[in-house]
């Protein structure tokens, strides 16, 4: 390693000596930049010498000084929101440039394309960009949120309303199946690859731009890890000029966006009684009305004024020789559910610097550090034990806290003496224990009390150091070292607790978990750009070396310590010197490294920006493969044509610019579990051990897990994309893309015939296809003092599995299961990934005659002999004599087939207004709020209107204890609801104080704004939120749209200020 670095440095040196030539004599040019519209000077405008990298930025008075070579001919001046202007350099004297407000500036934008940038006008791939300007002043905490609804091609759904929770991101659909993370796009931050879920550390305000590489041809530069798409994030850099200080802060309160309409105590008693009487059983609650409203469990755990704060301050500036950007951020969020144990705090520090000691060399680093601390309510979309699920399912009769031990004796724990300390509030009252609803459903107030203090923490250091050497014009040697270092863990105390007859914790424990990982990458590229007679060529070559892998962890548990609360708990054995060794447990894990070595080359060519071509190839070697399959090749090519630049194209005012694009690219996937799938690992212990002799000791056995699969190879995704970008009426931008991507060789561990004698091993078996259409629209117009901007996007996609496993008619891969309904999804070959799979119902039996008349093929056998009027009539799809598992079919699709977003910007004088919303549709949601295996669980009030002999018009089947007719205990499309929604995400009104006023106070800009987040959602769905991502909890499956009682999202009301000095 060391030797190689040395060699590399030597090589760099060699190139320098070889190509170092004295540059021509320079002279100094000064000038000013201002706005043509109002004459105001423009600070922060970029002034560059055309065709070179020589550039500077204007100071706050719009002045600049630039050292220019003698052969320089022209300057290019750019400023966000203004049209770029090119002026020839006068022989002497200063220049004055007046920029015009641009209507459409997108063509001159530069986009990040991976190992470089490219002018948007010559980009041939399908790349969507989100700029800092679109994100600033949005109160988002995670990057996924800032992308949601902003670009086409992305399906994003939050996994939970828990503060700081991640969202599920799918770029152009599902690319593969298998391990959940395989479908997560690759996140690259300033050239450093961070693993999925590892982007939570990033401070939103530090982001300069986000580029989404959607087509295979663009993503192929990231080769083996790009199959699920690539998202590039560039952080802000300093600019030469005066020191800039920016402060952005907001504060506000949040409330739950929705409250479910659950039965109150008397309604619950009524429903239970009617269920019991229908079953011929004695009533449980003789006088339902006497229970009144009872406990509103949602109210008990919801917080309608949960605070939310963010402060961010950045300082940037620099000179010709060096620039810097540094920022500090602080975020503190409180959840709207169980606020005492639902918190998120984050501190960020960033330093990005660049030094340019000489013309031919620059170096610097981009470094972000984050410390996070959070506590969560636990399983947020899971029916087993989360506080949300408990609040939905607990009966409203049980009091939250027993304030009258005589009246509410039924709600005091069994054998209270044994449990007294563990089940009381701080003021000595018992928490109500439900005698009706048990299992994992716990009094949420008690749960909160018992989890106080527990927290997760993380420290992340992500960044890179780089050097750029440009020995001759057009040639840049770039060398970078990047790293992600993470330390994280949790601290928890679990007290002895009694929740109900089936759930109690008999032994307390205090637990500490620590984990760390260090990933790094080294990349070196050489690029050369030259323009000759209209031919513009950029060549790039590079190699990279990457190491990442699983964390190393250690966990220590002390059982039965004397502590009773988190604050008392300690690991100091001096305090616990009496704690026997067998109550101190620890374990640790090692992760396997993942190494990738790469070589890549790229050609970008255009002729007069009219005929465009990009071709690239990447070769990746991965430690996850063996033998000759270690290396994979990822070629891609894309072409473009701009007919509007052709002489023959008629001059017109309608179509100002048109670019037609087509691309083809291959990307790969090397995420395989377990590690070392290509070699025959010999496993130890477990079902290999045996005992000999009377001594009774166990001999550890060893046997291979599975044979070698030396032909194990990469999953390959081949993508084709055609599209165009157009500018119409000088005000409207329009982009269209149609794509198809096919993944072959998807890795699966199939069920092997038992006669093989060995375990299953990964094989390249599956094939999957995605097709989609994407539209992006932008409109910007200035009408007098009013500026109007509209941005919208719509994406459609269809996914299908084209090949499963060896003759199998369907695939059951990461499919969700639901309580006693069993599996609720599977994938049909030829159909979309993980569709809902269950029974179809034909309606509700109204009379016994209908039940008796519903017979099988033989005309006599009753298909649903146990059904009675009010029960669901199930379709006999097999047309045989029974309703059984074979009558199930595909009854819905959890994957949205369309997603869209819309942003409207208005500015009038000093006022500005933003409205932003997004939505998706075409999918179904499994509404699984009620615990089906607990017959006594509470109901939504809609069940008050369930079928009864006197209410025959209901759409809901009858409620009967034990459900003998299986109306609710079969998975039918009764559980599916439309997932269509439109969510208004933000409405913001801002006011910028006049500059004449603020300059007196020493600030350049002072803007105040008021913002409402999640003001409303348009949907027919009756759960908390129709936006349901893939739950990270075990057993949830790799599926959207399964609602097990999600953490309700928050509506926030925020006030914020931006101040610039």
């Amino acid at each position: 390693m060391k030797a190689k670095l040395l060699l590399h440095l030597r090589a760099l040196l060699f190139f320098q000596i070889l190509f170092f030539t004295a540059t021509a004599q320079n002279r100094t040019l000064t000038g000013t930049v201002s706005s043509k519209a109002n004459g105001q000077s423009l600070g922060g405008a970029t002034v560059s010498v055309k065709g070179t990298k020589i550039a500077t930025t204007t100071d706050n008075s719009g002045n600049f000084t630039l050292s220019i070579p003698a052969n320089a001919r022209a300057l290019v001046v750019s400023y966000i929101g203004m049209t770029n202007q090119e002026i020839s350099i006068p022989a002497s004297g200063s220049v004055s440039v007046q920029l015009e407000q641009s209507t459409v500036s997108k063509l001159d934008e530069v986009v990040v394309v991976g190992y470089g940038t490219q002018k948007k006008s010559v980009v041939t791939g399908s790349i969507s960009s989100v700029r800092a300007a679109d994100l600033e002043e949005q109160p988002v905490v995670r990057v996924e949120q800032s992308l949601q609804g902003r670009t086409s091609g992305l399906t994003i759904a939050s996994q939970s309303g828990q503060p700081g929770a991640a969202a599920t991101v799918r770029l152009r659909g599902f690319t593969t199946f298998g391990t959940v993370g395989k479908n997560d796009p690759l996140w690259v931050i300033d050239g450093v690859i961070v693993d999925a879920g590892g982007i939570g550390y990033l401070n939103q305000d530090d982001i300069e731009s986000i580029e989404v590489l959607k087509d295979g041809a663009s993503a192929a530069i990231y080769g083996t890890r790009a199959a699920a798409g690539v998202i590039l994030i560039t952080t802000k850099k300093g600019r030469p000029g005066q020191l800039r200080i920016n402060y952005n802060g907001w504060y506000g309160t949040q409330e739950p966006m929705k409250k479910l309409s659950l039965a109150n105590a008397s309604q619950y008693a009524l429903l239970r009684d009617s269920a019991l009487s229908a079953a011929g059983k004695p009533l449980a609650f003789p006088n339902p009305a006497s229970y009144g409203a009872g406990t509103d469990w949602q109210k008990a755990i919801f917080n309608y004024s949960a605070p939310k704060t963010n402060h961010e301050i950045s300082i940037s500036g620099g000179s010709d020789k060096s620039t810097f950007f540094t920022s500090f951020g602080y975020t503190n969020l409180t959840g709207v559910v169980a606020s005492d144990i639902s918190k998120y705090q984050r501190m960020n520090y960033r330093i990005n610097t660049n030094f340019k000691p000489a013309k031919f060399i620059s170096f610097g680093e981009n470094l972000g550090f984050e410390h996070g601390k959070s506590s969560g309510v636990g399983e947020t979309n899971r029916e087993f034990g989360g506080v949300v699920s408990s609040a939905i399912n607990l009966d409203p009769i049980t009091p939250g806290i027993v304030n009258d031990t005589v009246k509410y004796a039924a709600f005091i724990p069994v054998n209270p003496a044994q449990w007294s300390a563990a089940t009381k509030t701080g003021s000595g009252q018992y928490y109500g224990i439900s005698p009706y609803v048990g299992q994992e459903m716990k009094n949420p107030l008690q749960y909160i009390q018992n989890h106080l203090g527990n927290y997760n923490w993380d420290n992340n250091l992500v960044g890179n150091a780089y050097v750029d050497i440009s020995p001759i014009k057009g040639l840049v040697i770039h060398s970078t070292f990047g790293t992600k270092m993470a330390w994280y863990g949790y601290e928890s105390f679990t007290p002895v607790a009694y929740y109900n007859t089936s759930t109690s914790i008999n032994q307390s424990n205090v637990t500490r978990n620590d984990a760390w990982l260090i990933n790094w990458n080294i990349e070196n590229t050489i690029s050369y750009n030259r323009t000759l007679g209209g031919h513009n060529v950029t060549l790039l070559g590079g190699w990279g070396e990457y190491k990442d892998g699983n964390a190393r962890t250690a966990t220590v548990v002390y059982n039965n310590t004397p502590a009773t609360t988190f604050d008392q708990a300690t690991f100091n054995t001096t305090v616990y010197n009496a704690l026997p060794a067998d109550r101190q447990n620890s374990n640790a894990t090692d992760g396997t490294d993942h190494r990738v070595n790469s070589l890549f080359g790229r050609l970008q060519y255009n002729y007069q920006e009219k005929y465009l071509l990009q071709a690239l190839v990447r070769r990746d070697g991965s430690s996850r493969f063996g033998g000759n399959k270690k290396f994979g090749y990822y070629p891609s090519v894309s072409v473009g044509w701009v007919p509007t630049l052709e002489n023959f194209f008629p001059q017109n005012d309608v179509l100002n610019n048109l670019k037609i694009r087509a691309s083809y690219g291959v990307t790969g996937q090397d995420l395989i579990t377990p590690d070392f799938a290509f070699i025959p690992v010999v496993g130890a212990g477990g079902q290999r051990n045996y005992s000999f002799g009377t001594a009774g000791n166990v001999n550890i056995g060893y046997a291979p897990n599975a044979p070698a699969n030396p032909i194990l190879a990469w999953e390959q995704t081949k993508s084709t994309d055609v599209g165009f970008d157009a500018i119409l009426f000088n005000a409207l931008t329009f982009s269209f893309d149609a794509y198809q991507k096919t993944t072959t060789g998807i890795l699966e561990n199939p069920v092997l015939p038992g006669y093989a004698g060995y375990g299953s091993f990964a094989q390249n078996l599956g094939e999957m296809q995605n097709k989609g259409l994407e539209f992006e629209l932008g409109y910007k117009r200035k009408i007098g003092e009013l500026t109007l901007g509209v941005n919208g996007n719509v994406s459609f996609y269809r996914n299908k599995l084209t090949k499963g496993l060896l003759g199998q008619a369907y695939l059951d891969d990461n499919s969700a299961t639901f309580q006693n309904l069993g599996g609720i999804a599977r994938t049909q070959i030829g159909g979309p990934y993980n569709q809902f799979y269950g029974y179809k119902y034909l309606g509700i039996f109204q009379t016994q005659a209908e039940v008796d008349g519903y017979v099988g093929k033989d005309g006599a056998t009753k298909l649903q002999p146990k059904a009675r009027p009010g029960d669901l009539k199930i379709a006999n799809l097999q047309n045989d004599n029974t309703i059984d598992a074979n009558d199930r079919t595909y009854i819905g699709n959890p994957n949205p087939t369309v997603s869209y977003g819309l942003t409207i910007n208005l500015a009038y004088k000093n006022f500005d207004f933003v409205a932003f919303g997004s939505g998706s549709g075409g999918n179904q949601i499994f509404q699984g709020l009620r615990r089906l295996d607990i017959g006594t669980a509470n109901y939504l009030t809609k069940y008050l209107n369930a079928w009864t002999p006197t209410n025959t018009g209901s759409k809901l089947p009858r409620i009967i204890d034990g459900d003998p007719g299986q109306s609710y205990s079969r998975f039918t499309d009764l559980y599916l609801e439309s997932g269509n929604y439109f969510k208004m995400r933000t409405i913001q009104i801002g006011y910028t104080l006049p500059k004449s006023m603020t300059t007196k106070w020493g600030c350049q800009r002072l803007r105040a704004y008021f913002l409402v987040e999640n003001p409303f959602t348009i949907t027919k769905y009756d759960g908390f939120d129709p936006e349901i991502g893939i739950s990270p909890d075990a057993g949830a499956g790799s599926m959207f749209g399964v609602d097990r009682g999600t953490y309700v999202p928050a509506r926030s009301f925020l006030f914020g200020v931006n101040v610039g000095f």
Binding site: K4, L7, H8, A11, F14, L18, W543, G549, D582, D590, T592, D593, H594, R595, L599, G621, S622, S623, K630, F631, D675, F676, I679, P680, V681, V682, A684, G685, G686, Q687, R688, N689, Y690, S691, F692, G693, T694, G696, N697, V698, N699, I700, G701, Y702, A703, P704, P707, A708, N709, V751, L752, P753, G754, Y755, A756, G757, Y758, F761, L806, G807
Partner: protein, 514 residues
């Protein structure tokens, strides 16, 4: 010159990059061993042998084994448990509703084939393990003996099974076909014959009890000959196990009947003189519910115990461990056996314990409760593991696969069928009545009916009844009331998972083509 320098530098750099690539893609396997790095030392060879023995005595995490399957299938016991679907693989053996997708057949199938694979792995690797010649010869013999036993189980239960003589290559995974049953029997016989001379005559029971011996392998082979109706060969093979003076002196391998029948069921009485082939269990493996099949404890002990058992008068009542009420004897069987001297050691009459107020148990929770429990294998509180983990999965009682009374009766039966002298002067009479004599029963004549009765009483609850009924051709009549279908239920269906995507065919008995 300058140009050349550039080329040289470029080439040097290039080769360095390319050459280093592959090496750096080799990452630390964090302690993982592969078939290339393992099997290098005698200690490693031993661990591989252990993995084959693991399958030999394997009980599934579904809480049953061959003994339990045969017990329920034999008609004298019910599945029981907590409900009609509790350990469904056993319930279907009671109702004879097993099918290629539901039943215990996958357990039998996978146990044997995994064992065969593991044996084949070590046989292929054993030369590189650095074993001394004697140890290597012994290991090979043990591996072949077990492989023969696995194939015997397979061919007897399924009739039509693939015969894999080595490790199945990945590329022919789906092209395997079934072998004629005669070929499988012949292969198993050959394996055992090859093994016998190289196995030790006896082993030190303290450290090696449970390892296969010459006597054990001969008993397995003799039993297989008997099942194949190769009477003379069976008698000859079993004769060596039983010795020249059955019931009087210990055989040359040291086997003799225990004087007291009930001593056979004391967990501490491991590898006693009557034990020929024994599956070993221990209380020290700390088995838990996350993988009950990995426990080395005897799972039959917990499933056969009565539900909700508690002692009222502890000086009198047995210290049964509360279990799950499986494998109860039927009332018919209990009535038939009542009066036999082996009754007390075989059947635990829970209801009489309750009636005399010595103990309580939750009869209502036991599905199809009969009150007659499997005393031979019920767990006792005194034997409960001292481990801090899951006590119920760590009972130390061993299980007899073949014991001397069995080889006595098998040899007697073989001799009788081979036309040997069955009079009181003959060896068959001696063998047969040695078994009766041990429990104080008067001698009687050697006839098919008497042998059938003796085996029925002697081995009740030991998983012998079902194979006996099948080989005697009595299963269809004896088990008819339970739903046994003649011409089908004599064998198990090939599991559906074995038919998917493969060239295997379902047996004709089960509606297939084989």
């Amino acid at each position: 010159m300058k140009k050349n320098l550039v080329y040289i530098a470029a080439i040097a750099l290039g080769t360095q990059l390319l050459g280093s690539c592959k090496k750096e893609l080799e990452v630390n396997s964090q302690g993982r061993q592969t078939t290339d790095t393992y099997y290098k030392t005698p200690a490693q060879a031993f661990t591989a042998l252990v993995a084959v023995y693991d399958r030999f005595g394997f009980q599934t995490g579904g809480l049953y084994d061959k003994l339990a399957i045969n017990d329920v299938a034999g008609g004298d016991q019910v599945a029981g448990g907590g409900s009609a679907t509790d350990i469904n693989d056993l319930q279907v053996m009671q109702t004879w509703t097993l099918s290629s997708t539901s039943g215990p057949e996958s357990y039998i199938w996978n146990r044997s084939y995994t064992g065969i694979y593991r044996a084949n792995v070590l046989l292929a690797q054993i030369d590189g393990c650095g074993l001394d010649a004697a140890t290597k010869t012994r290991y090979i013999a043990e591996l072949k003996a077990m492989r023969g036993a696995f194939y015997f189980d397979l061919v007897w239960y399924f009739k039509n099974v693939p015969l894999l003589k080595g490790i199945l290559p990945v590329d022919s995974l789906y092209s395997v076909v079934q072998a004629p049953p005669a070929d499988v029997y012949a292969y198993a016989e050959a394996d055992l014959l090859a093994a016998i001379p190289n196995l030790p005559q006896t082993v030190s029971i303290g450290s090696e009890g449970g390892r296969l011996t010459q006597g054990g392998a001969k008993a397995i082979l003799g039993k297989m000959y008997l099942f194949e109706k190769k009477w003379q060969q069976a008698a000859d093979m079993l004769k060596d196990v039983n010795g020249p003076n059955p019931g009087v002196a210990a055989s040359s391998y040291g086997y003799s009947l225990l004087p007291k029948f009930s001593d056979l069921w004391k967990p501490s009485n491991k590898f006693n003189s009557e034990s020929v082939v024994e599956f070993v269990h221990t209380s020290t493996s700390n088995g838990g519910w996350s993988d009950a099949g990995a426990s080395e404890g005897n799972l039959i002990c917990i499933i056969s115990g009565p539900r909700g058992y508690s002692v009222v008068k502890d000086s009198v009542a047995p210290d049964y461990y509360s279990g799950y009420s499986f494998l109860m004897f039927t009332k018919d069987f209990a009535t038939a056996m009542y009066g036999d001297p082996r009754y007390g050691a075989t059947v635990a009459n829970m209801d009489s314990l309750v009636a005399t107020n010595h103990a309580k148990y939750n009869a209502a929770a036991a599905y199809g409760n009969t009150g007659f429990y499997l005393n031979k294998y019920m767990g006792h509180a005194a034997d409960v593991a001292s481990v801090s983990g899951t006590k119920e999965l760590n009972f130390p009682q061993d299980e007899y696969e073949i014991r001397l009374a069995d080889t006595y009766l098998m040899e007697a039966e073989a001799l009788m069928n081979a036309g040997a002298d069955v009079s009181s002067a003959g060896r068959a009479y001696q063998l047969f009545n040695a078994v009766r004599n041990r429990v104080g029963l008067a001698p009687t004549t050697v006839t098919q009916a008497n042998i059938e009765h003796e085996r029925w009483m002697e081995f009740a609850g030991e998983g012998q009844r079902f194979p006996d009924l099948v080989r005697w051709g009595k299963a269809a009549t004896v088990l008819a009331s339970r739903g046994f279908v003649a011409g089908r239920n004599e064998i198990f269906p090939v599991p559906q998972t074995e038919l998917n995507n493969t060239k295997l065919e379902q047996s004709k008995e089960w509606g297939g083509t084989k």
